[in-house]
């Protein structure tokens, strides 16, 4: 127990070290553009934590990101490279909004139904990629990516066509969903909605999920197809299932964003969360609590970065650069075998004696 704690603490310290290193390299690039890194970072920090408003915004942003990253982590644990979170998010949102706009059901039935629709939408989209992998050996990295594009155009088609708000004087968006369907806000005048509890709830569920038989099987799949089959687990079923769960969570993420923030469908609804979710999942070590922490960090980075761009001359692309650097350092850390180096040194020392 104590060992585990120390291990986690080490993990945390390392993560912090990585972030600091990335910020340092980022600083060099910022100075290159003739701006002051100090100003950039302080605006960024201030932009995320400088006011209640901004801090709330960080939490709002965190909701879909954390849920989506949890979805990503499910697939990645099984070494299934689902990078189609955006597409799954979109298709989930489309189905959920359809239910709320067109079903005419009372919210008591309609709301749960819309959540289910979001889950089904996400799961279908990723499950499809899983199915293609199983049936045709089509690599899921590519198919999920392509399905992203298809979902983006599908959404565009719908908001310009069949789902366009009939009273919206040809604006490419759907009508607003009725208030009863929306995720309640904490306080009016603030964007933070109850979705935050849903995100936290899913984090807790995922902590337990990895201890269930199903969680074990997904983890096992990541250890290799041969040992999975050998252990009596159907690889094909497991691939489709794992992909579906992964997309299901992305669908829920879409639901929280649409029903908690936007209240309607429009183009660009995912704001490119998919790639960031990959990063968050990775940075969180595919561990639910880790994902919660790194999700918070990245949300702050995004919100702070957006503020920085508004309030200074420094372009937003800096934020992307810093993000990229952080992952590169994470990769580097996992690749360099510190244990080996340490062992070598201690051996040498003891030999000398």
């Amino acid at each position: 127990m104590k060992n585990k704690l120390i291990k986690n603490l080490n993990q945390l310290l390392l993560a912090i070290g990585i972030i600091i290193l990335s910020l340092l390299v980022g600083a060099i690039i910022i100075s290159f553009s003739g701006n002051s890194p100090l100003e950039a970072y302080s605006t960024m920090f201030n932009g995320a934590f400088g006011s209640k408003q901004r801090f709330m915004e960080v939490l709002v942003r965190m909701i879909p990101l954390v849920i989506m990253a949890l979805g990503t982590s499910v697939a990645f644990k099984a070494k299934l490279w689902n990078i189609g979170g955006d597409g799954q998010f979109i298709v989930g949102s489309i189905l959920a909004v359809s239910v709320s706009l067109y079903s005419g059901l009372p919210p008591v039935i309609g709301v749960p139904l819309s959540i289910i629709a979001a889950m089904i939408g996400g799961a279908l989209w990723s499950g499809l990629a899983g199915l293609l992998r199983v049936k045709f050996n089509a690599p899921e990295v590519i198919t999920t990516l392509m399905l992203n594009y298809i979902a983006v155009y599908l959404l565009s088609f719908l908001v310009y066509g069949p789902m366009m708000d009939p009273l919206g004087s040809k604006m490419p968006q759907t009508a607003n969903i009725s208030t009863a369907y929306r995720l309640p806000l904490f306080e009016s005048g603030n964007r933070l909605h109850m979705g935050i509890f849903i995100a936290l709830f899913i984090v807790v569920i995922m902590v337990f999920f990895w201890k269930t038989t199903v969680g074990y099987k997904i983890d096992l799949l990541g250890q290799g197809e041969k040992v999975t089959t050998y252990s009596g687990v159907s690889v094909k079923k497991m691939i489709v299932f794992t992909m579906a769960i992964s997309g299901l969570l992305a669908g829920i993420a879409g639901w929280t964003e649409v029903f908690g923030v936007q209240y309607r469908l429009l183009e660009g609804i995912t704001s490119g969360y998919g790639s960031i979710a990959v990063v968050i999942a990775l940075m969180g070590g595919l561990n639910p609590i880790g994902i919660l922490i790194s999700g918070f960090f990245f949300s702050a980075l995004l919100v702070g970065g957006s503020t920085m761009q508004r309030m200074t001359e420094i372009p937003y692309s800096i934020v992307e650069i810093v993000q990229g650097l952080i992952i590169i350092f994470i990769i580097a850390r996992t690749a360099i075998n510190f244990k080996e180096i340490k062992n070598r040194i201690t051996r040498r020392l003891s030999n000398v004696k």
Binding site: K211, T213, V227, Y230, S231, V233, N343
Partner: protein, 514 residues
């Protein structure tokens, strides 16, 4: 004492070689000398450091300490390229061939082309055929490697080395996968090469081979050089064994050929495809009785792996039946075989038998997550308890159940698999090459556990390419060749007969019987 041997006539001289891996000293101050125009045996238990030493000579590893002289000149062999340019060739224990490539493409990989940057396919193919003829081999240079038998692949490896101009040829356990007859063919080639003045280094575990072909032998133990012997009529097996192990070893299982119990697993007319979609099993029939060890002898790649996988549900069956008692289990998902008490020690413990990245504890419950849960969650306490008892029962050397499976040595990894597969008291045990790559101690241990399982009433299918193992353990011996049973022999049959069957030759007695 050995330092005096240093002279211009030695093809290879390795002095004071030290090589470490993490916490293992694989070579500890080793001296090794090989004369031109001789066949030199390298002997030692598993893990003694033979392959490591040869990998150093071939430039794959760089030693921490030591010097190497080739034909009297000091060399720094920094890479295989350097080794090849010095006239050193190596045939690895696991073949180093690109399978979708043709033979000639594989050969060209390791050699400068005569046409500069262009491939000289035709010329190389012609040379290769000529070279093969010289050493009494036959090959089709345009055949793809995956179409070749193991023996043929080995020939390609040897030819490649020769073609690269090898004057020193290292062969790492070349005979492990060959039939006795194929071994004879190989030795013919080696003698031919020796007469050409080449130096040949032969790693083998088989002492008869050492005595029959080798001129000198060096013995390693625990990374150190133990001794160096010139082989002549007076050299004996027991002398070499003692050098190798440091004590006398006698496999001494109290085996009497058991009258077998009742039929448990019946396999009838099985047809199964291999990964390349060719028939690996073609009308295979066999039955296994409770309380017996049925040894299945055969050269690797004759359908053994496919058989084990078909029985356990891992591989689909095209035609035929597999019955456990009276219940048909063919083409059922693997979980069915597991639940019915069929245990399986797979050939490949790394990729199939273990989740290498997982802890040992979790590896123990790989097939039984469900039985180890409480309120739907995996029950850590229960697993810990299981691990504790398994560690004791199976003598697994590990710090704790939290260790990753990949951090264990091969022998201990195999013990973890045994603990899992035997811990469930199977009615049938499919053991595919259970002792491959294990040292004598571990081998002895595993074999004893298999015999214990039989005593427990399990029907054991022991698949092994090691005839000695088959002979020692089996109550009946079946021989597989090209996906069919060539014959079933009683316990105590002679090696030559089995060898003939393994080569696909029918025995006359058998012929008459049918």
């Amino acid at each position: 004492m050995l330092g005096e041997l240093k002279n211009k006539h030695n093809a290879v001289e390795m002095h004071n070689i030290v090589k470490e891996f993490y916490d293992v000293r694989a070579n500890d101050d080793v001296d090794f000398f090989v004369k031109n125009g001789s066949i030199h045996g390298l002997l030692g238990e598993n893990g003694a450091g033979k392959t490591t030493l040869m990998n150093i000579l071939f430039g794959i590893y760089h030693p921490e300490e030591g010097e190497i002289f080739i034909n009297g000149e000091k060399q720094d062999i920094s890479s295989p390229t350097k080794a090849i340019s010095l006239g050193i060739g190596m045939v690895h224990q696991h073949f180093m061939l690109a399978r979708p490539f043709s033979i000639v493409e594989n050969v060209m990989l390791g050699r400068k082309s005569r046409k500069g940057i262009l491939l000289d396919t035709k010329e190389t193919a012609a040379d290769l055929v000529a070279l093969a003829e010289k050493y009494k081999m036959k090959i089709d240079p345009y055949a793809k490697v995956w179409q070749l038998s193991v023996g043929e692949q080995q020939r390609v490896e040897i030819l490649t080395a020769l073609y690269q101009g090898a004057e020193v040829l290292i062969l790492d356990e070349p005979t492990a996968v060959l039939t006795p007859q194929e071994v004879e063919g190989l030795f013919e080639t080696l003698r031919e090469m020796k007469n050409d003045g080449k130096a040949i280094i032969l790693i083998t575990h088989k002492l008869e081979e050492i005595l029959s072909i080798v001129d000198e032998v060096t013995v390693l133990r625990d990374g150190s050089m133990i001794g160096h012997v010139e082989v002549n009529e007076n050299t004996t097996k027991s002398e070499l064994t003692k050098m190798m192990v440091g004590r006398d070893v006698l496999f001494n299982f109290n085996k009497a050929c058991i009258k077998t119990g009742k039929e448990k697993l019946v396999i009838k007319d099985l047809k199964v495809l291999n990964d390349k979609n060719f028939l690996a099993l073609d009308g295979f029939s066999l039955d296994i009785h409770s309380g017996e060890i049925l040894g299945l002898a055969g050269v690797d790649g004759n359908g053994q792996k496919e058989l084990c996988e078909a029985i356990t549900g891992i591989r689909p069956i095209e035609a035929g039946e597999v019955k456990l008692d009276t219940i048909n289990i063919e083409n059922k998902p693997p979980i069915v075989a597991i639940n019915k008490g069929i245990s399986h020690i797979p050939e490949d413990r790394h990729i199939t038998g273990l989740a290498l990245g997982w802890s040992l504890k979790k590896n123990l419950i790989l097939k039984t997550f469900k039985d180890n849960t409480k309120f739907g969650l995996v029950d850590e306490k229960k697993i810990e308890k299981r691990w504790k008892s398994a560690q004791v029962d199976y003598d697994i050397k590990a710090n704790s159940g939290e260790d990753s499976a990949k951090d264990l040595s091969g022998g201990n990894q195999q013990k973890v698999i045994l603990a899992r597969e035997l811990g469930s008291h199977p009615v049938i045990l499919i053991a595919n090459q259970p002792t491959r790559g294990l040292d004598i101690g571990a081998t002895e241990y595993v074999r004893q556990k298999i015999i214990d399982a039989k005593g427990d009433g399990a029907g054991v299918l022991l698949v092994s390419a090691d005839l000695e193992e088959i002979l020692q353990l089996s109550d009946r011996i079946a021989v597989i060749y090209d996906g069919k049973i060539m014959g079933i022999l009683p316990c105590g049959s002679n090696v030559k007969n089995i060898g003939e069957l393994m080569m696909g030759k029918k025995l006359e007695v058998e012929e008459n019987e049918k």
